[in-house]
Symmetry: none
Subunit: 242 residues, 2 copies
DNA sequence: CGTCGTCGGTGTTCTAGAACAGTACGGCGT
DNA sequence: ACGCCGTACTGTTCTAGAACACCGACGACG
């Protein structure tokens, strides 16, 4: 009956879709938990597990004694900003596009080797792209793929198709998980030239490892000048004292 | 029988303490869930709730089929729970302390005025503190409070008591919400001197507005040299396509 | 006219147990 | 010697129900 995915995942996905489709507008209350449990044919506990998932994703807000509500979209805005940083921006709002600067094979540096779990001196495919917002360069992204995957990828039309999609369709690899680290660095000469600013200006550097089927598949390194980008988040202090 | 705090809170607190006291070392496995449930005299479900709390706090890691382990402390600054950056860290793991550099009244700059909702040329109390980790300076924090609150705060012993606590006990103000923005900047001369590095090195600058009762109460500006901090986050791509 | 209690809605915590699902390791077969 | 596979551990998902806690509104009482 149930696939191999937990029931509460299905339920969360179902509600998530209804929110995304606008069937449940921001601020609107969901049916009460007991009713939801009944319509999904599960126990209250199981339903609550689904709601917990959604709450962690900031899609809903639960208020004791009041009800459960679709979260205001202001919170998504932060997430959007974070999305951006990593470069998987989904052209929402501003005019965003990507310019392919080039691809080449090269020997990977130490950080890339470690992240991808490759032996020393292994070769990788390097894909270099520039993200433009409203026509102005926003970030420079270098993606590294193990050579064996790179062969296939290098033939794809990266100018128009997102790398994610190439991996999915050409190689059957679906990125499931990623770990991203952001640091503050000084912009190098080459990076500065591509981004149209001076060498040495402070910038964010994001390094990200993406996993498909528990295997490191892509390493991304993104540079964003500090004057073009900020990370914003909303904090809430509810229970827990210190 | 049970106090007004949920049972699973108590359990989480108990385990949290054992970790903090070093009774459970980083990397060490906890007893299995069924055993823990028994020793706490509670159901498996209830125990799991406690573990979930601890996992969200990144104090433990649960691994299916393997066990539950005390998480290895990381200097990375997790953007999802970023207690750290803002400086309300609870001495977890590393040896952390704060040195009060000084307090003074001054005319606020534009950003501070806007954030706190003050009129032009308003005076504020400036509290300057240095965060040390293992004896080395990690971040420089400047907090700004409206003068009317500042009078009271200035008399408190900020060397030993966290600002949060002063606000809570002396003024009855509980911070409920905050908005934080992180950008990449070049470190100024004064900041560099306090932090023991050269002017001009890239750094994170975090600006945070904290609200109590929907009123902006404190504005914090934190500088952290780029070579001492990183922001890390875990991404999951489950349902939702883009 | 105001205040306080009750009531019916909501989410929250908890029980006792069953079945499922990864992981490691050791023994069996080849 | 090697590989497969069962088994005994681990965490995970789920049930069916009960009792609790919180919130807002309505009505009774002073």
């Amino acid at each position: 009956m149930n696939g191999r995915v937990p029931r509460y995942h299905r339920i969360a996905e179902d509600i998530r879709e209804r929110i995304r489709d606008g069937e449940l507008a921001p601020g609107a209350p969901l049916p009460n938990q007991r009713a939801l449990a009944k319509t999904f044919g599960v126990t209250l506990m199981t339903l609550r597990q689904a709601l917990e998932v959604l709450e962690r994703e900031k899609l809903i807000v639960r208020r004791h004694g009041l009800g459960t509500f679709v979260a205001a979209p202001s919170i998504d805005y932060d997430i959007l900003h974070l999305r951006r940083l990593a470069g998987e921006l989904s052209a929402q709002g501003e005019d965003v596009n990507t310019r392919l600067l080039g691809t080449r094979f090269a020997v990977a540096d130490r950080a890339v080797l470690a992240a991808l779990g490759l032996g020393p001196r292994a070769r990788v495919l390097v894909v270099e792209r520039l993200r433009l917002v409203d026509g102005h360069p926003m970030s420079l992204q270098r993606s590294f793929l193990p050579a064996r995957l790179g062969e296939e990828v290098a033939r794809a039309d990266l100018g128009t198709m997102p790398l994610r999609q190439v991996l999915e369709h050409k190689l059957g690899l679906t990125i499931e998980r990623a770990r991203e680290t952001v640091s503050a660095v000084r912009l190098g000469r080459r990076e500065a030239r591509e981004l149209g600013c001076h060498a040495g200006v402070p910038a964010f550097e994001s390094e990200r490892v993406s996993y498909a089927a528990n295997q490191a598949v892509v390493f991304d390194r993104v540079f964003i000048p500090g004057d073009r980008f900020r990370i914003t988040r909303e904090l809430h202090y509810e229970g827990a004292s210190v």
